[in-house]
């Protein structure tokens, strides 16, 4: 199987993610789209790792560097999802919605005080 196929698949997934980031209204769907973008990056990491493994002979760490970076991306996505959930809950408590166009101030709303 050729490397280009994986790169094209990653490109399509990345485009879908960018389309989502630019067009979606609620914050949670924008977060979903960001996850799509991260996954497209992961496909590239793993595909290139497999390709380089079959063509070159480096040290062990060189041969598995793509996997390691993919795991870093997965960990990053986990942390991002946790912080995102906290931000959404905080926003929802103040605004009763998470439509990003309607949220233009980050301070606490004044009725609460």
């Amino acid at each position: 199987m050729e490397l280009e196929w994986f790169v094209y698949l990653s490109l399509i997934l990345f485009s879908i993610g960018i389309l989502g980031v630019l067009t979606q209204k609620t914050a949670i769907r924008i977060l979903f789209s960001v996850e799509l973008i991260l996954n497209s990056a992961n496909i590239n990491f793993v595909a290139f790792n497999s390709y380089l493994q079959s063509t070159t002979s480096g040290t062990v760490i060189d041969q598995y560097m793509g996997w390691v970076f993919a795991m870093v991306v997965i960990a990053l996505a986990a942390a991002e999802a946790a912080v995102g959930l906290a931000i959404f809950i905080s926003l929802y408590r103040n605004f009763r919605e998470i439509v990003v166009a309607n949220i233009y101030e980050l301070a606490e709303s004044e009725e609460d005080e």
Binding site: M1, W5, F6, L9, I12, L13, I16, G17, L19, G20, T23, Q24, T26, I28, R29, L31, F32, S33, E35, L36, N39, N42, I43, V46, A47, N49, S50, V60, I61, Q63, Y64, M65, W67, V68, A70, M71, V72, I74, A75, L76, A77, A78, A79, E80, A81, A82, V83, G84, L85, A86, I87, F88, I89, S90, L91, Y92, R93, R96, E97, I98
Partner: protein, 172 residues
């Protein structure tokens, strides 16, 4: 000449692209989250096709399990749309196509992960070899991971503290 796994790469790619579009164009947030889980599992199948079984396990358990549940909670806790669940004919067609793609995907990773040999699969040399290769891969990848593990740990600590600080409700 189109090989067996090339064919399934195309099916898996279709699965990823359609479920990725489903994330954007689904009507409700929950359907969108379900499409996202399908996309993540499809990406995990890509990892399996390039012989990264370890990442496949990580992707399905961490991404398809943990992060997906977090996102489902985020969707449920922040959406004020009412769910009157209705299921019309176009929904049925889309669901049917999706189930076909899911079945094709399941067929891929069954045919990929179980060594195709007749007889008892637990005792064949091929099975043992596959398992040994799997654990060797995990060990070698962990050697690389050990270099950056402290940074990941620090990042998780920062994320944990930040999310606790953000989500906790202060008493007046």
């Amino acid at each position: 000449m189109v090989e067996f796994f090339d064919f399934f790469f195309v099916i898996n790619a279709l699965f990823i692209v359609f479920s990725g579009l489903g994330v954007l164009f689904a009507k409700r947030v929950m359907q969108s989250a379900l499409s996202l889980i399908f996309t993540l599992v499809g990406v995990a199948n890509v990892f399996l096709l390039v012989n990264s079984e370890y990442l496949w396990v990580i992707q399905v358990s961490v991404y398809g399990g943990g992060i997906a549940v977090l996102l489902l909670f985020a969707g449920r806790l922040t959406s004020n749309e009412e769910d009157h669940f209705s299921f019309d004919r176009s929904d049925f067609l889309i669901s049917f196509l999706f189930v076909l793609l899911i079945l094709a995907n399941l067929f891929v990773f069954i045919s990929k992960s179980i060594p195709s040999q007749r007889g008892n699969i637990y005792t064949t040399d091929n099975g043992q070899l596959l398992l040994r290769q799997f654990f060797t891969n995990i060990w070698q990848a962990n050697q690389g991971l050990g270099v950056i593990l402290p940074f990941i740990a620090l990042m998780f600590l920062a994320a944990l503290l930040a999310s606790v600080k953000l989500a906790i409700k202060e008493d007046e």
